[in-house]
């Protein structure tokens, strides 16, 4: 709607421009750092961040969210770059975009509802840990000068904002970079600089079609990478979108975001950039700095490119230590400290889900595996909890030697075994009545368990009568329609 568009672009011009600038300053070191992780030239990450940020500003589903080259995606590209080189990576990026657009049209964004909160928290924490771990290669086998710079950098980043008056007006990452670069030039210490890591952009991004053979073999090579990139990209983007929704108290269109990510990645692939997705750390910085609309994302991307292309000689002088300090800051900010505090108060199953997500991600360096593990565990815990909601009551009728078994609760795969064991088959009876009026069967395991019980009783010579089977079976059918009607739900669950 036109009104909404106007608000998303022009509703907060001053705030958006300022925050876009702040974000761009932190985006530069991140894009460079993630290129290095992936094993490509810094310019690949910088071009990627520019393209993705600018395109997403127009087509994304969540205004105020920052998307660029990210660590999660970079980690998945390492082996592809090592084995086949940059061109294959660019092709994989384009394919990633295509898959993401497909996911958007198939409304897979709505599948986010199956990802429980603890998995999201685990994902975020694992991401923070991964970003931190990616800095370690820069910190090993180096002189004490590097450590000094990193510590000084962190000191400036967290200390500068505390200064009265200027503290909150100048972004501390900028101060850090400037101060550390000047000090390293003045003292003449030999530390690694950005210039040592590869080539920086000297022109605006150029359109180029990746130089790869268009064959089935190529597809076979890039498809697994593209699939992983698409999944991880969408997961991180949708989760970040949820976080930004909370911070800004506004809604976003998840499926539109999927399509937007897809388009952005396709554009990045054709302009020499690697695949990227939404970034939690940067989005939080954006919101914190007052950014709310699409203009902030656009401005961040544009300022990033302008600063990089026109200041590239100075950029190559910046010590890697300054970047490391900024990246450590991002990883600290991304980590959900509150979740650690809450470990004490939340139930064990929730904690296991969160921790196992973190462990699997850190171990495999693949966020998708972690999320799968987390979702699986969360679902199993859920099924386990529900299976406790079942009991079988035995009532015996002394007059005519009948026994009635009253089943109450949910019978499905997890509780089926317990269901069968609740009947006393050793008892000699003439007639058994199984009352299912207050029972619910959720799948055919439940039904087959019932059959087993009936068969066993009959083989022992008893007459079996089952009452209330129709009502109990109503929950087996995939009746999507009734779930919205309160009266139907009352009828079914009224007696539990």
């Amino acid at each position: 709607m036109v009104l909404r568009l106007k608000k998303e672009w022009f509703g907060n011009i001053k705030g958006d421009l300022l925050s876009g600038l702040v974000v761009a300053l932190a985006l530069i070191p991140e894009a460079i750092a993630f290129s290095i992780i992936a094993g490509v030239d810094p310019k690949v990450g910088l071009y990627a961040s520019f393209c993705i940020a600018v395109v997403i500003a127009f087509v994304g589903g969540r205004s105020g969210m920052i998307s660029a080259a990210t660590g999660a995606m970079a980690l998945l590209m390492v082996t592809l770059v090592k084995s086949h080189g940059l061109e294959y990576l660019l092709a994989a990026t384009v394919l990633t975009g295509v898959l993401q657009i497909l996911a958007g049209y198939l409304k897979l964004g709505s599948l986010m509802s199956f990802v429980s909160r603890s998995v999201v928290v685990g994902f975020v924490n694992a991401l923070a840990i991964l970003i931190f771990m990616a800095q370690l290669p820069e910190l090993s086998n180096v002189s004490w000068h590097t450590y000094a710079f990193v510590v000084a950098g962190l000191g400036i980043i967290y200390g500068f904002p505390l200064l009265p008056l200027v503290g909150k007006l100048i972004p501390s990452p900028l101060v850090t970079i400037v101060v550390i670069t000047l000090v390293s030039l003045m003292l003449g210490w030999d530390v690694r600089t950005i210039g040592d890591m590869g080539t920086l952009p000297d022109t605006l991004p150029l359109f180029l079609i990746p130089n790869i053979p268009l064959s089935f073999e190529t597809l076979q090579i890039i498809f697994p990478y593209a699939a992983a990139l698409a999944v991880v990209g969408l997961l991180e983007s949708l989760m970040t979108a949820t976080i930004v929704d909370e911070l800004t108290d506004t809604k976003s269109d998840k499926n539109r975001e999927c399509k937007g990510q897809g388009v952005a990645n396709i554009v990045a692939g054709f302009f020499g950039g690697m695949a990227g997705c939404a970034m939690i750390g940067q989005s939080v910085i954006n919101i914190k700095s007052g950014g709310r609309g699409r203009l902030s994302t656009l401005f961040a991307g544009v300022m990033l490119l302008i600063m990089v292309v026109f200041l590239s000689q100075w950029l190559s002088l910046i010590p890697m230590a300054a970047l490391v300090a900024i990246m450590i800051m991002v990883s600290i900010g991304t980590f959900d400290w509150g979740s650690i505090k809450r470990l004490k108060t939340l139930p064990l199953s929730t904690n296991i889900v969160m921790l196992s997500t973190v462990v699997v991600v850190v171990w495999t360096h693949n966020l998708a595996y972690g999320v799968l593990t987390g979702v699986l565990l969360a679902s199993l815990f859920f099924a386990n909890k529900i299976s406790h909601f079942m009991y079988v009551e035995r009532l015996s009728d002394e007059q005519n030697g009948n026994v009635t078994y009253k089943v109450v609760g949910q019978v499905f795969f997890n509780s089926a075994e317990r269901f069968i064991n609740s009947f006393d088959f050793k008892e000699v009876v003439d007639k058994v009545v199984i009352d299912l009026n207050r029972a619910h069967f959720w799948d055919i395991t439940g039904v087959s368990a019932l059959d087993k019980v009936v068969i066993k009783f009959r083989r022992e010579g008893a007459e079996v009568e089952v009452i209330g089977l129709n009502e109990a079976n109503q929950t087996i059918i995939d009746r999507f329609g009734i779930h919205d009607k309160p009266e139907e739900i009352e009828k079914m669950m009224g007696g539990h």
Partner: protein, 285 residues
């Protein structure tokens, strides 16, 4: 479906006039009046923090501080709105309104009005709200969108209340104009008033024949005084100068009959009228 008059007030200078018009129509049409105040949320922080760093627990801290700020802001806005609504309710009742209901809502203007559009007989809006107070060149940002997308009669108020005695009905022969005439004749909002049916165009012959055609619609009971006048010249200027010369109290017309694209390229008649008129505009779609 039980209908009502809905008047939207935000505490700006025009709100009192909006309320007065609401009371007037409620009295003449014997319909209940609802005073709607939509509490605005800016969702933008008042503090600038450009420090660009995030520490441990950054997200939770940021969320907490945003919640705190917005909570205080919202409470103040609600209290102010409530006081205003109560004052206006008093005012409306003393002016003879049927029954007055006051409603406060969060969210967007449009999403609070749209679900009720079937029940709204007439929607009354101030031409500009608090944001543009005093700036006679500006129109409220939401006005055009609302008019284009809501198919209910909308009365745009831009001055203090005078009881409408003479009204001008602008007719240009378009479909939207004809529809507007249908509404005026079949479900008139005003009772005994002097109606001037005006067509402004270049060709006097064509103009007169259009007017003759339009007048046939008026040969139905209840609508009495109708004069039909043909003006030559540019539409907006002619209508406005006629309005000035003849002490017209209110102008009624079909609104935004052309597509957005045409309006963007050629300028829209409705927009020009909204901009230039000094009297209330009744827009019918």
């Amino acid at each position: 479906m039980a209908k009502k008059i809905m008047a939207c007030v935000d505490g700006s200078a025009l709100s009192q006039s909006v309320c007065d018009f609401g009371a007037f129509f409620s009295k003449t049409l014997h319909l209940p009046l609802e005073l709607l105040n939509v509490v605005e949320h800016l969702h933008v922080s008042a503090h600038t923090d450009l420090s660009g760093n995030i520490g441990l627990g950054a997200r939770d801290d940021l969320l907490e501080s945003l919640i705190g700020e917005e909570h205080d802001e919202s409470k103040k806005a609600i209290a102010k709105g409530k006081t205003m609504l109560l004052n206006l309710k008093e005012r409306a009742l003393t002016q003879g309104a049927q029954e007055v209901k006051i409603v406060q809502k969060h969210g967007e203007f449009y999403e609070n009005i749209e679900p009720h559009k079937e029940e709204i007989r007439l929607l009354i809006l101030g031409l500009r709200g608090k944001d543009n107070e005093g700036n006679t060149q500006a129109i409220g940002s939401q006005v055009e969108e609302l008019i284009r997308t809501l198919n209910v009669p909308i009365l745009l108020v831009n001055e203090a209340f005078h009881e409408p005695k003479k009204i001008l009905i602008a007719y240009d022969g378009s479909l939207s104009s004809k529809k507007a005439l249908e509404i005026v004749t079949q479900a008139p909002l005003l009772g005994e008033v002097e109606r001037h049916l005006i067509h402004a165009g270049k060709n006097r012959e064509a103009s007169l024949s259009l007017l003759r055609e339009a007048c046939t619609l008026f040969n139905k009971p209840q609508i009495h005084t109708v004069q039909s006048i043909s003006l030559q010249g540019e539409a907006v200027e002619s209508l406005l100068s006629y309005q000035d010369n003849n002490a017209i109290d209110l102008i009624a017309m079909g609104a935004f009959s052309h597509s957005r694209i045409r309006d963007a390229l050629f300028g829209s008649f409705t927009s020009k009228m909204i901009f230039k008129t000094t009297k209330p505009l009744l827009l019918l779609r």
